[in-house]
Amino acid sequence: MTDKFNLLSDEQLANISSGKLWHFHGGIHPHENKLQSNQASIRDAGIPPTLVIPVENKGHVPELLVNVGDTVLKGQPLTKVYSAMVVQHASSSGIVTAIEKRPSLHPSGLPVTSIVIKTDGLDRSVEYVKPPAYQTVAPALLVEQIQQAGIVGLGGAGFPAHLKLVQHEQIKLLLINGAECEPYITSDDRLMQEQAAEIIEGIEVVNHILKPQLTIIAIEDNKTDAITSLQQALKNSPNKENITLRVIPTIYPSGSEKQLIEIITGQQTPLGKHPSELGIVMHNVGTVFAIKQAIIDAKPLTSRIVTLTGDSLEKKGNVSVRIGTPIQYLLDQYWNDDTSIKQLIIGGPMMGFTVHSADAPVTKICNCILTPTAKEMPAPRAEMACIRCSECANACPANLLPQQLLWYSKSQDHDKLNDYNLSACIECGACAYVCPSHIPLVEYYRISKAEIKTAENEAKKAEIARLRHENREARLAQAKIDRQAKHKQAAEKRKAQLKEKNGGEDLIAAALARAKAKKVTESASVPDKTQSPQKDAVAAAIARAKAKKAALAEKNSAEQENTTIETAAVDPKKAAVAAAIARAKAKKAALAEKNTVEQQDTTTETAAVDPKKAAVAAAIARAKAKKAAQAEKNKTEQQDTTTETAVVDPKKAAVAAVIARAKAKKSALAEKNTAEQENTTIETAAVDPKKAAVAAAIARAKAKKAALVEKQPLESQSQAPDNSAVIAERKKRKEQARLHKQQKEQIQPEQQTEPSAAEIKKAKIAAAVARAKAKKVNLAKNSESEEQK
């Protein structure tokens, strides 16, 4: 649905101008109580000693044009134009004594920034320069002037008047609200009676701005004098054809914007939309009067008509009050000293709010000050249970179901409240007025509206926070990816640069490889250097650990290993050949042993020199392994044979070592660390007979493990793994290590370097530990060997 759809059509306008009136749903007829205050003419309230003019609007304070200590004149602007806010003017001449927080005219009484002026009683005003005739001025300029004059809706809402005049195309109907439906209030009544001609002039100004097709003044039929006065003024006005006076029946709340539109036009403003969507603009008569003064007389808005009524006051009536007059000043002039004021209501009895103290100033929205006695407006009776009589629904001008709203308000069901259109409630008070159970319905709705608003605000904030968090997460993730990409790029760039520099060689990789080898050889060669049994034990332990790791990780390789060992056992010739070659190489390398790097090189050389043979052996081993995998009985036998042969014949051990080396190279692809460790250990073993023994032990362990692993599927799976063989093997290895250590001591005493004192100590401790362990192993081995055999 486009906006234009709802605009008043020409037939509708014709209907309206013919004088037809409609009704809105509901409405009540409270006692009017207007006679107390509409009999006397409007008086001037006088100049109070202090004026307190609030300049804050919803927390925003516009730029001020005055400072403390400045002298101001009446009509001098105090604030700069700030977005849509109107300007505040000084209502009388005097000196600005303070700009501070003062109690506001609001039920909460919260302080707002106000300009406090100490008046000098002279009431000197700025020079009012008569402006050019408004008929010659462009409407946009007039609208700006209205904003500059500080005019807000004087009916009580305080909406800036110029905002309603901004959209001056497509306005079909201009409604002037002279209904004043609320009981007790008579300010518009008296204004229409006394200033009818000015009001008509003001209407003409607005007509010039908006150029509507139809202009109607709506007035309730209980204001007979005002009707007469306006009719007289219209007769005298030159533009009387354009302006129509419409008298509507007295009912509350006919003066409410939406309800008045329904009465005059029969159309309902769509929910959530502005009457301008229908092409209708409504202004209060007081606003129109102020517009006239601003545009034609160049007087800004500095005072307004306020009804003072209520039985507590001695003199009741309407007064022209300067904006910023403290209420106490008015009460002092009109208050009856004998009765004490119980309640101070700003506005009428149906929609007025109470204020805490009389220090609050009269602002532009204050149209009535009502001070009832307790008898006049007794305290509300106790709230009783709702009897579902639906009187409230009958009275509601917005056609809501106040009973349901009450239910959901009590249970704080915000979704249901929105379903039942709580936001459409105009808080007119008709429902609470008729409720026989004295339920304060409007209070419940106000609380619920505030709760819903707070919840919505929090949800919005949470949503914003969530979005920000998500964006941040995305940003960080992206930054990480970018960073990694950058690093990768830089690394490649560096590599490429180095390659260029060194002629295609990847020096870094080579260095890394060397470092790795160095690390391994260092750990393996540590026993050579120190030549102490403890270090040998440590080295053996390390070798064992490495062997264990490799054995655990690689079952396949273990099987292959097994098979290689088997093939070695089956085919000793080739193995012997390879072993011999390896030994020779090892001896060569051992003589030149000073630099671990050289060692590495030799190992790599030996590996490089004899890869073919190793590869050949490996290939044969693989083939045999496949064959042997099917024959499971042989495996166990071969295992035994391998272990026995290893123990008895160091040659065979060397063979096993070589084959193991080959296997290690093959598995280097799968597991670098363990393979390298194995490789180095095995290579160094090939170089050094002692190391060969160690490597042999490792190989044996792996074989055993593989055998065990193979054994398990043969045996029933529910059986617990048999660890006794492993334990025996370990003990054997320990013994071997011990023997190996002894051999070392005997063979190479001259290679001993001078150890430091700390090293000696450490070595001594380690030696003691190793000895103890060896003893244990011996004892265990003796008993076990008996067992096994």
């Binding site: 749903h25 409270p30 009981p183 929910l271 929609m351 805490h356 106790a382 249970a385 579902r388 409720c435």
Partner: protein, 350 residues
């Protein structure tokens, strides 16, 4: 100086809930007076007893619920419930009928649901149904008109019968219901139903002496009495026109349909309108605001629905008078009716 803080509106209409209830009780007087005239003053005893029990029961429950007792009792709703029950049961029923009925209505149907404004079912009607089903004999011993009674009953006789079940002379209540001719007299509706079941047609029934002995005239006048009271309520705007008008028109319409279909086997619309508790129901029972629908359209549907059910049960169902059952069934439908008859809010889409 600190002024009183209050939320608008600061003025209120002066009609309160207790005033409404008192008005309703007041407008029951014409009908009750006619009833007393024709059937003896025993119904006044019932009213007294039921009112006392209602107030006492409510006070006890409010004390248990820790609610303000005097304020709540002042709203008169318990009193009204008690009186309605007393008007609905046979005047000569024993005292414990009224006591049990009122206790059930106040404690179970009203207070246990949450008190005034929260009960789903009409307390008086729910109590009536309970009594009718639990004590059918006592609930169907309707006395004939005083002029037709075989024995003249003084107020003392009635009081005695009320408390002991026997008159001063020793006759039982059942004996009192038998007329001179030996016919068991019942309400007109009862007579019609039994005779229809026996195979007579309505013209025969209306011509038979049994019908004349069944106090049809008296019942007619009682209904007119309640109609008068109801019209006063309407005028005073204590109740709204939607429910009574829709109910009566519905009764007229549906009984006319039934009558037009089978004139020999169903009562005429006028018969239905002025027999049993039709008028009492239309103005005093259906209009109970707590258990009735709340929206305008909803109330019209509610009235018509109950009218339909009344005619249905009277003609086809097993019980002679069906107002109580129909009202309870209508109460059950109220939430649904309310949901689907919401009015369109100002400015809302149709």
């Amino acid at each position: 100086m600190a002024f009183i803080n209050a939320s608008s509106p600061h003025q209120r209409t002066y009609r309160s809930t207790s005033q409404i209830m008192l008005w309703v009780i007041a407008c029951l007087i014409p009908g009750v007076a006619v009833q007393s005239y024709f059937f003896g003053a025993a119904n006044l005893l019932q009213i007294t007893l039921a009112s006392m029990v209602a107030l006492i029961a409510e006070a006890i429950i409010l004390k248990l619920r820790k609610r303000p007792i005097i304020n709540t009792l002042k709203d008169g709703s318990a009193l009204l419930t008690g009186i309605l029950i007393a008007v609905a049961i046979p005047p000569i029923a024993p005292w414990w009928i009224a006591v049990i009925g009122t206790l059930f209505a106040i404690v179970f149907v009203k207070q246990l649901y949450g008190g005034l404004g929260q009960n789903i079912f009409n307390p008086a009607m729910a109590a009536y149904v309970l009594l009718l089903i639990s004590f059918p004999i006592q609930m169907t011993t309707w006395l004939p008109m005083q002029s037709l009674q075989p024995f003249e009953l003084t107020i003392m006789d009635q009081l005695n019968a009320f408390f002991t079940g026997h008159t001063l002379d020793g006759y039982t209540v059942e004996q009192l219901t038998i007329s001179i001719d030996g016919l068991t007299m019942a309400t007109p509706l009862d007579t019609v139903k039994n005779s229809l079941n026996a195979g007579f047609t309505t013209p025969e029934i209306f011509a038979a002496p049994a019908y004349k002995a069944s106090s049809s005239q008296a019942i007619l006048w009682v209904n007119i009495g309640f109609l008068m009271g109801g019209l006063i309520l309407l005028y005073k705007r204590i109740i709204q026109w939607m429910i009574p008008i829709s109910f009566l028109l519905g009764m007229l319409l549906f009984s006319f349909i039934a009558f037009a279909y089978q004139p020999d086997l169903t009562g005429s619309p006028m018969f239905h309108l002025f027999s049993g508790a039709t008028m009492l129901g239309a103005f005093f029972i259906l209009t109970d605001p707590v258990s009735a629908s709340t929206t305008v359209k909803g109330r019209i549907i509610y009235g018509a629905l109950i009218a339909f059910l009344v005619v249905l049960i009277r003609n086809v169902g097993g019980y002679p008078d069906a107002i109580a059952f129909a009202v309870l069934l209508g109460n059950m439908c109220v939430p649904l009716i309310d949901y689907y008859t919401q009015p369109k809010v100002y400015g809302g889409r149709a």
